[in-house]
Amino acid sequence: MENLSRARSTQFFNTFSAHVHANAILKLLGFLDQGNLVDIATFSARALADVDTTLRTVRYDAAGPAIRGEEDIDMLRSVRSKLLLKLKPIVDLKQDALTQWESFKSESGFVVVARKLLEEAQLSGKGSDYATKKPSSTPKK
C-alpha cells in the first residue's frame, strides 16, 4: 500500500491514482478482521482523505462548475460512497476512535469521524453541524 502511494507523481495531479488507491483499500477492508479497529480506521482514513482531497481539487467549490470531466467526479464519488457504506454508524465510530486513542494513541479513528461528520454537515447545510462537539473522555457503553 505504501508503494502504491509512493508510485504517484510528485509533479502532477491525477484523479485515477486516487481512485486506484481507494479501490485497493476498499478491497483490502473486505479481508480485514472487523475487530482490527486500528487497521480499518487507518486504511479508511487514508482512502477517504485521498478521495476527498482529490474531489475538492477537481471542483471550484461544492456547488460550482467542474474543472474536470463529470466522469472523473462520478468515479470518485462512487468509490467514496462505497467507503462510507463500509463504516459503522457515527456513534460507534466515535466510541472506536476514543478506544484507539486511549489504547494506542492512534488518531486514525478521529480522522474517520471527522470525515464522516463533515459529510453529514455538508448534507444538512446547517452551520451548527460544523461546530465542535467535544467527545466525552471515556466511551459510553
Binding site: S5, R8, N14, A49, T53, A97, L118, G127
Partner: protein
C-alpha cells in the same frame, strides 16, 4: 479531537490536521453565508497552520488543494512572498 491530541504536547497528524482544515474551510469560507450583525471573520492563521501540518503528508502532486489553501491563507495574512 484536536484538543485531545494537542493536550499530549504533540502536533496533530497530517491526516487529522487535513480533516480539520477541510471542515473549517467548508464551514467558514465555502459556505459564504452573510451574517448581518455578527462578526464572521475567517481565522486565516488557523488555515495556514493546519495546511502546513497537512502538507507534511508529502503526497506530492496530490497535495495541490492543501497547497492552494496554504497560499490563500498566506496571502490573506499579507505574506505575499511566502504565498508565491
Amino acid at each position: 479531537m484536536m484538543d485531545l491530541v494537542q493536550k499530549t504536547g504533540t502536533d496533530a497528524s497530517p491526516a487529522l490536521a487535513e480533516a480539520s482544515l477541510h471542515i473549517y474551510y467548508a464551514w467558514r469560507v465555502l459556505r459564504r453565508i452573510p451574517t448581518k450583525n455578527m462578526a464572521n471573520q475567517i481565522d486565516w492563521e488557523r488555515i495556514r497552520t493546519l495546511s502546513g501540518l497537512a502538507l507534511r503528508s508529502r503526497r506530492g502532486g496530490q497535495d495541490s488543494y492543501n497547497k492552494y489553501l496554504q497560499a490563500l491563507a498566506l496571502s490573506h495574512l499579507g505574506r505575499w512572498t511566502d504565498a508565491e
